[in-house]
Amino acid sequence: MLTSLKRIIKNGCKDFSRNLSLSLATIFIMVIVISFPTALFILNPASKILISNIEKKVDISVYFNEDAKKEDILSAKEAIAKLPEVKEVVYLSKEETMEKFVERHKNDPVLMESLAELGENPFLASVNIKAKDLSQYEQITKFLENAPFAKIIKKVDYYERKPIIERIFSVISKINKIGIILAVTAGIIAFLVAFSTIKTSIYSARKEIEIMRLVGASNWFIRGPFFVQGVIVGVISALITFSLTFAFCFFLNSKIQSLFFGVDIFRIFLENMGVLFLTQLGVGIGLGVISSMIAIRKYLKV
């Protein structure tokens, strides 16, 4: 039993090295196949981070009447903060708003001059609201319109921002859907290519498989070396894909961070390294072994 196992492993390694060009071609295809689940693995958390980073930038502002009292505004702020949908509420007084405006536009003489000409603070006190989720702004706005303090509210800028919010919302969900469909389709195609590559390599060995049967080799003694080759191809492909993923995440991290609102793919890689490698190994070995075993079946009928 042990001798047989040793021989199966030895024959598998020998066949792998003797058919090196075919083995390398198979590894190349497998690296492409494993790259698809790898891409999903990295892109899924990356897109979540991207979405939340974009969502963080979305907010709505509630502007209060000129004559609204500060206590009334603050109690309105308290009431808003109590809403379960609300993540953050910030109060900005007339003065603070003015300061911020001046700070932001101090280099724009036209704006500064117009402000000086007005002679008074034209800004309104406001409350800035961030919801936990993009879809909740509508509800919050409805609440504001019907709240007891609605009479002191001059304007909620939700309706101005609504098209942008909805646009972001639909773009994100479209990107997600397209991404998944693309990855799954490409993954299936890659799987079929890998399967037929392995099938071709076994087809080229079909005569030898028949001879093995005819000289009295048991099915497992024949399958074994192909199984071993499947494992070798799987492990090498997984190692290559893992190294490529590392290199990709490491070297392109700063570029991606600046392009995509600070998404840190290298951190995603480091945090999921173990599971990622096991997934790659699983896909590689699984595909290598299962394809070989399916492809070899029909030649074992002699």
Binding site: R7, R18, V215, G216, N219
Partner: protein
């Protein structure tokens, strides 16, 4: 030892073609330690018969018993055990093209579960017997026709099978090598093996002076104890 009864093998091609009857109700017995030659023209059914004996193909009708075992009722799992009792010299050699001469022979011993020490001892011996020891590390495509044939013979003998099945083993050999091979088969027969030889070489048959079964169009037309090649 081998009992063949009512074996018929029909090959059905496409529906338009006439089916080909390769063997038609063939029956005979081969006793232990017999040397049987099966002769006939090309297409008489010799190779088909040998293929059926090792269950490489299934008959359309009939049975073949090896001792008490109906070989066509064997499960796929037990079939290798039957085949290990045979040493087959195939007409087209059936060598492993990706294995060296040494590995071709050693593979059969590996299949049988021989130890590494046994393999290291026996393989060079049998390669020497067929004059291929200096070609041990060559692959089949690096060997001549005669060398391939001798390698096929070495592989058939290595595991000391009960029965040697030789399908045209001298087909590609010059007269000198032909008689070397026949001498070797006779020697194995003397050592107690059962030998089944298929050939259309008149010279070989007439020299052997053993049992001859003559096939024609898939039928046994003659079965003689000390036969001659008559067609």
């Amino acid at each position: 030892m081998i009992s063949i009864s009512g074996i018929t093998k029909v090959y059905y091609g496409s529906s338009k073609e006439e089916p080909i009857v390769a063997l038609d109700n063939v029956s005979f017995e081969i006793k232990k330690n017999e040397f049987v030659s099966i002769v006939g023209r090309s297409g008489a059914g010799k190779t088909t018969l040998l293929k059926l004996i090792i269950a490489e193909e299934e008959p359309t009708k009939g049975t073949i018993f090896l001792d008490k075992c109906d070989i066509f009722k064997l499960s796929r799992k037990n079939l290798p055990l039957l085949r290990r009792r045979f040493g087959v010299i195939f007409q087209d050699y059936k060598l492993f093209s990706s294995k060296t001469a040494y590995e071709n022979v050693a593979y059969v011993m590996e299949v049988m579960g021989a130890t590494d020490a046994q393999i290291a001892r026996d393989v060079p011996q049998v390669l020497e017997l067929v004059g291929l020891l200096d070609r041990a590390d060559n692959f089949p495509h690096e060997l001549s026709g005669g060398e391939k044939q001798r390698l096929a013979i070495a592989r058939a003998l290595i595991h000391r099978p009960d029965i040697i099945l030789a399908d045209e083993p001298t087909g590609n050999l010059d007269p000198y090598n032909t008689f070397e091979i026949i001498r070797l088969l006779k020697k194995l027969h003397e050592l107690g093996n059962t030998v089944i030889l298929s050939t259309h070489d008149k010279e070989v048959i007439n020299r052997l002076g053993e049992r001859v079964i003559t096939l024609e169009n898939g039928r046994v037309i003659r079965d003689e104890k000390r036969g001659k090649f008559i067609l």
